[in-house]
Symmetry: C2
Subunit: 356 residues, 2 copies
Amino acid sequence: MLLLTEGHLGIFSSKTAASLIRYCPDEVAGVVDSHFAGRCAGEILGIGDGVPIFANVKDALLARPDTLVIGVAPVGGGLEPAWRAIVLDALRAGLNIVAGLHVALGSDGELAAAAKASGVRIFDVRESPPDIPVATMRATEVRAFRVLTIGTDCNSGKMVAALELTRAAREAGLDARFIATGQTGIMISGKGIAIDHVVSDFTAGAAERIVLDDGDADIVFIEGQGSIVHPGYSGVTLSLMHGSLPHAMVLVHAAGRRVVRKFPREVKLPTLSEMIESSESLMRPIFPSRVVAVALNTLGLSDEDARRALVDAERETGLPAGDVIRNGCGPVWNRVKEAYDEASHRNLEARPHSSV
Amino acid sequence: MLLLTEGHLGIFSSKTAASLIRYCPDEVAGVVDSHFAGRCAGEILGIGDGVPIFANVKDALLARPDTLVIGVAPVGGGLEPAWRAIVLDALRAGLNIVAGLHVALGSDGELAAAAKASGVRIFDVRESPPDIPVATMRATEVRAFRVLTIGTDCNSGKMVAALELTRAAREAGLDARFIATGQTGIMISGKGIAIDHVVSDFTAGAAERIVLDDGDADIVFIEGQGSIVHPGYSGVTLSLMHGSLPHAMVLVHAAGRRVVRKFPREVKLPTLSEMIESSESLMRPIFPSRVVAVALNTLGLSDEDARRALVDAERETGLPAGDVIRNGCGPVWNRVKEAYDEASHRNLEARPHSSV
């Protein structure tokens, strides 16, 4: 696949592209971004060494792609005007399109016609399935231990933390599943529901449904969305919390970030302790849940600064803190595993003697 | 208009019908509900003396209606099977349809065809306008003092409190507006957006937009939705709080209710003090706001029990409490007015001398 980032290539600004390079490297043929053409993704992102960046679709055909993925998730989820011509080029060149925008490209007359003419398909992964119910706490019925990543802000590493923890749990021999709740997670895992595209009365119900779908696992890691202090998206976040009803939460924070990112007003982020207190308070009346660890995203910091940020986070919260990319999942996973083991132990004890 | 409640007539179970009888009495020709046919609405609801209840549309035509309103808001917002035949009868008899369901009746082939054949219209008031943006705290830009009703639960009186306070503020000579956020409020006021039908990424943006639309008023009363402790709808509630950014909140509670109503699991409601603390905490990082009064819905209680419930609420919260229907808006409105006056005073003081 080709990743379209036209003008936006960056670890945060094109998070879909960056995540596909990180998690599906064998499937990425290159990036289309005329602003960075001729260089390789690794130079810009720190990941993706050897992934070529092309000026346009025509040049990129050399890499023999079969699909173009929209690699940017713009606020509001529209198709940027500059992208239309590129998408049309791709369709005419016989590439399928994978998009995670709020607008459905498959419903766009011009694009749909071009797809039809070329005999290719447009996949809008943010489209939600029909008949999602209102949430009724059915997530509590599954056997899986439920872990939700929550964040102080958007675009801080909640999906990455959930993916890395899933990998760690699998390495520990558990049937662990990643539950995608956003477009990029869906592209990586091949399933899930983009809950931010669901009608708000049914958003918690969507979270509930995808938990039920993977409820037979030992442990599930649910990709967090937004933040309870993000004025635009806080409702999505709370719906996810109350629909998925996690046993444990992992707090994700981009080290050093002090205000909501890319927001027209200055909104100060709460401290980690305040976030933990608020998040646990919101769960308490419905399904008490604890924040058990902090996943700090120390991208861009020196090793020394990163180490200090982790020590500070541990001191402030009294919880283990780790950067799952820089240092691996160790401390965070260990604490999640403890919580999982405790819950399994309780379940065994609670089981009637006759069935043991 | 005729109000269809078929089998559900009741002050809570058909809240749309009950509210239209309360706030638009001159426009109500009767109720269609075969379970209660031959009686009058007042006997069942305590309001609507003289509003006849008909067994079917044919009988109801005697009252010369021009519109049938779906008077029930079922969980999930579907068209109950029993209602389809009644709606078809109404369309064939030349009545317009007003509906606030999640499913759009105007997009239902059979119903749309019947409407076309009769030359009448189907109004789906829950359909939202296109191009709602992600919220960016623009609600703070308006001159209006913003009051939001919040509740411990759904279906407790948030809309009624907002409507009654609007009336009280108008009687006090202010340019006061009611801002509808749900289907019934929209039917009563003729405008607004049903925010629970908006895609979740844009739900706070919808709340922001309707506040901006009435931002030139002196004071606006924003109809609350759901509750932050309702597992199905909490995200809608938080989106509304962070989109509308109220200066003051009025807490609404159905006296004596201890668990979330009509919910398959038992979810205990927090105490009033806990609700106040949680709600103010959720606002604090973004736009600090205070709960200034309690609107207690004492429906069904004796006068003595209602009086005691109000005294208890005042003692627990330290705030004025009143039942806006039973006793009028007095104590609640007085406290809201104080908050309004304080804010106006601050604004005057903050104004540069040159412009005074």
